[in-house]
């Protein structure tokens, strides 16, 4: 089992992600430069956070045209797990692998804080070990994370269980105060129709070790462990 962590010019969470995979979960994983033309030897791909190409034009759009994205699209089509974290989520949206748009935060500010994330569905390659309705602590750090889709698309996403993560308060309620960026219906992460491609703005790699969490939890690890569980089952 081998995992690819893609690296674009301006990625900055690639090594954190690699650390969790290699040192905590003891999985074989590589950093893969964006010019890589072949990902056949990998079983899953993770697009990490950062500011690829300086977020020029729009977060993720230039990276979406990188050579490696053709390979990522092939992996997604063949059912392999693909995860986009923060800028990685933006890239997957711009590449057309996930629906919607990630717009500038409603506050116009870069927001860096811990959030509470409700698991809306465990049907995906990255949430199958989570309990539906459970709440995970994860931090966010972004300027363009306001998720938006049109009315019809939103209905489709809800009906087909493609909304995977929502920002909630301590009681698990989707309040305005718990919404850090103005995302439509507090949406923090979505998946494709098949559930093998998932994107989220919060950072599971920054919340996979209790030492890094003010809650002394390693909640983010569940996301990566779910991916390994999916690969073992496959």
């Amino acid at each position: 089992m081998k995992i690819a962590v893609t690296v674009f010019p301006g990625s900055n969470c690639d090594r954190d992600t690699l650390h969790i995979l290699k040192n905590i979960l003891k999985v074989d994983a590589d950093l893969v430069w964006h010019k890589e033309p072949d990902l056949d030897r990998y079983d899953a791909a993770i697009l990490p956070g950062g500011f690829s190409y300086g977020d020029y034009l729009r977060g993720g759009v230039i990276a979406a045209f990188s050579p490696v994205m053709k390979q990522v699209k092939d992996m997604a089509r063949s059912g392999k797990p693909v995860l986009g974290i923060c800028n990685g989520f933006q890239i997957l949206v711009e590449a057309g692998l996930l629906p919607g748009a990630l717009m500038t935060n409603i506050s116009l500010k870069f927001v860096c804080r811990w959030t509470k994330l409700k698991i809306e569905s465990r049907k995906t390659a990255f949430t199958n070990l989570c309990e539906t309705g459970s709440i995970l602590n994860m931090p966010i750090a972004h300027h363009q994370g306001r998720f938006f889709v049109g009315e019809e698309e939103l209905k489709k996403l809800i009906d087909s269980e493609q909304v995977i993560f929502s920002y909630v308060d301590d009681a698990g309620v989707k309040t305005k105060e718990a919404n850090p960026n103005g995302s439509l219906q507090n949406i923090a992460g979505v998946c494709n129709e098949e559930g093998n491609v998932v994107g989220l703005m919060p950072h599971p790699e920054r919340s996979s070790e209790p030492e890094l969490s003010p809650y002394l939890s390693g909640d983010g690890l569940l996301i990566f462990r779910s991916m390994l569980n999916q690969l073992k089952r496959a």
């Binding site: 034009l57 045209f65 711009e94 919607g100 748009a101 717009m103 409603i106 506050s107 116009l108 698309e153």
Partner: protein, 91 residues
């Protein structure tokens, strides 16, 4: 072979009318209204790309720019509109 001319083409990327524009709202509320420009009733911000495009004529310049904006996702069609204007030709 058709001789190509060079055209100035403006590409304006803006949020669709129903999509909130917090930057425009802030400029209106905190700069204009607070400083007495109460006659301004609405502000919408946008991103401008000024291109120099080689094309056969104005119509062709607009057509290939439009195709390029769609192919390269110069705007996200979920939330944005893209307005293309050929401003001048330089033969």
């Amino acid at each position: 072979m058709v001789a190509l001319n060079r055209y100035m083409v403006n590409v304006v990327i803006e949020n669709k009318p129903l999509i909130r524009d917090p930057e425009g709202e802030t400029i209106l509320r905190d700069l204009m209204i607070k400083n007495g420009a109460t006659y301004v009733k609405k502000v919408r911000t946008a991103k401008l790309l000024e291109l120099e495009v080689e094309a056969e004529n104005e119509e062709h310049a607009k057509k290939i720019t439009d195709a390029m904006c769609n192919d390269l996702r110069i705007f996200n069609p979920v939330v944005s509109l893209c307005k293309i204007t050929v401003t001048s030709g330089n033969k």
